[in-house]
């Protein structure tokens, strides 16, 4: 074996060891490392909002579908779309990805506002204002913009089932839209009555 060849063998051996070093923990905890996208968990909560939020009778009685609009989060749209067509409280679920606030009308029951663009988020909330639509978001300060449900920072509460409060409910906004949120959701939330007091910079 000449010197160059020996060097190459050493390099290869080192490379294998480095790969081994990286791979061991991945192999040991492969299941746990397949972290579930946070959108799957958000979808679970949206599904439960459909179960445990009551809309005014007039807003839902004439329709055989329950409609969810999603803006700015394609992964959440995909996660929710898996449920599309299923019956929830006797109504078929329809899931829409919206790009413009104008597309949001009275026929929707839930609006999720994702993305970073505060301007568009405000426009969506303005469009939903006064309508019996549950508005949900996950950006800090969503309540201050008039949103009803704001998910807390995932790093703070996600994957820690011991922490009960998963989201913030802006109860005054909920009441204005004539929606009722059942106790099992309220139990899991921080409730605020006046969103103006909430500090968007602190994520409330």
């Amino acid at each position: 074996m000449n010197k160059t060849h020996r060097k190459n063998v050493k390099r290869l051996f080192s490379l294998i060891l480095i790969l081994f070093w990286i791979a061991i923990p991945l192999m040991s905890f492969s299941h746990d490392l397949e972290k579930i996208p946070k959108q799957k968990i958000t979808a679970l909560y949206l599904y439960n909002f459909l179960l445990f939020v009551d809309w005014p009778e007039k807003a839902v009685s004439n329709s055989s579908t329950v409609k969810v609009a999603i803006y700015g989060d394609s992964q959440l749209y995909e996660a929710m779309y898996l449920l599309a067509g299923e019956k929830i409280r006797g109504k078929k679920l329809a899931v829409f990805s919206l790009t413009k606030p104008e597309a949001l009308d009275d026929s929707f029951q839930v609006l999720f506002v994702g993305g970073e663009d505060t301007q568009t988020a405000s426009e969506f909330l303005k469009q939903a204002s006064g309508k019996p639509i549950l508005t949900v978001g996950d950006r800090p300060g969503f309540s201050s913009l008039g949103g009803m449900v704001t998910f807390k920072d995932p790093s703070d509460s996600q994957h820690d089932a011991k922490k009960q409060e998963r989201f913030i409910i802006n109860l005054s906004a909920v009441h204005k839209s004539r929606l009722k949120i059942r106790s099992r959701l309220l139990r899991m939330s921080d409730i605020i009555y006046d969103a103006k007091t909430a500090n968007p910079l602190k994520g409330q």
Binding site: L17, P25, K35, I36, R184
Partner: protein, 512 residues
């Protein structure tokens, strides 16, 4: 770079490899552990004579054993801690006990332990004393032979021995007392408790000295349990892989639709003995109640839309009932008087009873919030203004209050201690001397007493059937439904819920 440097570098890489591996992963791979979410309620004691919640019963059968055991596949009762048994002509049961069986603390299992256990379970403060009242005593014939002497022949004796006669280690129990035992119980079972963090997180490990018997050794070496107080975070924990299994009976039927969409979760269900019902205080134990009037009880029966509850709140994982007991109970009678959903008839009956404007009543509830809310709405529609007393996750408190006769109206559930005989439910709720009885008649009492005294299965079935008919005619309860148990688990886990609603975690396994 010299050879020494290279070797040093390679050695360093190896050390770093180990450091980079999570310690937990090195010591305990996923295949070594099963993480179970026990449900919402935090037990206050793991002693089944102190707490009769289903989670405590389930855990008992994982860390403890009984003399006889129900095979979950065949449903048959087979010897467990006993080697063999026979029922004598006078109704007593004689058992030969297994030799070479040890409690987790090293104490030997023997006849003295069985005698100590029955004496303990028959004490007035024991949650199961009512079930064991016809067991007179344990006669110790020798160290490994006993005779269970009965007051009178008991048709369900083998089921009682398999499900209610829990076995305690006398030495350990005397040393640590009731409270100490409840915190850190010791049994003979396939798992032994290692740590208990205020009941919210418990760790068990496989009992290395387990005798095997019909249960066999635990397939998964470690068992961890967790309590998660709300339904949605329970589902979240399952989907995210934080827990592997939600205890059977703890999965809310409304969540099944979502869970079925998850590629990580498997949902399985099976029919069980559990029934849901509305109890009215027909005896006025809680004070003067309108439910003493049969017409009011009939009105309530007409007011409740059972089919809608089954469809919406139980998501179809239930069957609406006319009888108080489950179709799986021996002696079940389907041909009982049924009260169709008819709010107009309900209002009419209320008016006839002198309540044209309805009345107010406290309404206690513990399980299935959606069903409880539905009942509330139905009652309100006929003028019954029920004030809900939500006691979610507080079964022990509700049950204590219930036995004390303080509850005018309750939406409850009963699993019959996994005894597949109608008497397991009917005697408990409709025999006059039971503290759980809120309504009965001398006829019903007589029929149930006769059924307990009969050795003839056909005659027993007839007597139990008659009792159910009387109960329906008197409208003491609003039977809502019998249910399926739902179990949700990691898709790789091999596990099945059992018809007796006792999860055998020791039978669960991960694929090789």
């Amino acid at each position: 770079m010299g050879y020494n440097m290279i070797n040093f570098f390679l050695a360093l890489l190896l050390v770093l490899s180990c450091l980079n591996t999570p310690v937990e992963a090195l010591s305990q791979s996923r295949k070594d552990t099963l993480v179970v979410c026990l449900g919402k309620a935090l037990p206050k004691s793991l002693d089944p004579s102190v707490s009769n919640t289903r989670q405590v019963l389930t855990l008992y059968h994982n860390w403890g054993d009984t003399l006889l055991y129900r095979d979950p596949v065949t449903g048959k009762i087979v010897p467990g801690l006993a080697d063999s048994y026979r029922i004598l002509d006078n109704g007593d049961m004689e058992l030969t006990l297994r030799e070479g069986v040890w409690f987790h603390n090293g104490e030997p299992f023997n006849a003295a332990a069985v005698k100590f256990s029955l004496d303990l379970l028959k004490k007035s403060d024991s949650k199961v004393s009512g079930y064991l009242k016809d067991l007179k005593k344990i006669a110790v014939l020798d160290d490994h032979t006993i005779r269970i002497e009965v007051v009178k022949p008991i048709p369900t004796l083998s089921e009682l021995v398999a499900n209610v006669l829990f076995i305690y280690p006398p030495g350990y129990y005397k040393k640590v007392g009731k409270k100490g035992f409840g915190l850190h119980p010791v049994g003979t079972g396939p798992y032994r408790l290692v740590s208990n963090r205020n009941f919210s997180e418990m760790s068990f490990e496989r009992n290395p000295r387990y005798f095997g018997g019909p249960k066999g050794m635990a397939r998964i070496p470690n068992l961890k349990t967790r309590i998660i107080k709300e339904t949605i975070p329970q589902m979240e924990a399952l989907i995210s892989g934080e827990v592997d299994l939600i205890r059977s009976g703890s999965v809310n039927p409304e969540q099944v639709l979502f869970l079925k969409q998850s590629d990580r979760v498997n949902v399985v269900s099976t029919d069980i003995l559990r029934v849901y019902f509305l109890v009215m205080d027909a005896q006025g134990r809680s004070g003067e109640t309108p439910f003493k009037d049969k017409r009011v009880r009939q009105a309530v029966n007409h007011a409740i839309n059972r089919e809608k509850i089954v469809e919406d709140a139980f998501n179809g994982f239930a069957h609406s009932s006319g009888s108080a007991v489950s179709p799986l109970h021996f002696g079940y009678e389907s041909q009982v008087l049924r009260y169709p959903y008819d709010p107009a008839r309900a209002r009419q009956l209320m008016a006839e009873a002198g309540y044209p404007n309805g009345f107010e009543v406290d309404y206690y509830t513990i399980n299935n919030e959606s069903a409880a809310e539905s009942i509330l709405k139905d009652l309100s529609a006929v003028g019954i203004r029920a004030t809900p007393k939500w006691m979610m996750g507080k079964w022990d408190q509700l049950y204590k209050k219930f036995l004390e006769g303080k509850i005018p109206l309750a939406f409850m559930t009963w699993g019959s201690y996994s005894i597949f005989d109608a008497s397991a439910l009917l005697n408990h709720f409709f025999m006059a001397d039971s503290p759980a009885c809120y309504g009965t008649t001398p006829e019903i009492n007589h029929l149930l007493a006769q059924a307990m005294g009969s050795k003839n299965p056909e005659e027993r079935a007839k007597l139990l059937s008659e009792a159910q008919k009387h109960i329906a005619e008197e409208a003491f309860w609003v039977p809502i439904c019998s249910v399926e148990v739902i179990c949700a688990m990691d898709k790789d886990l091999q596990f099945r819920p059992a018809v007796d609603e006792i999860d055998r975690y020791f039978l669960a396994s991960w694929p090789e």
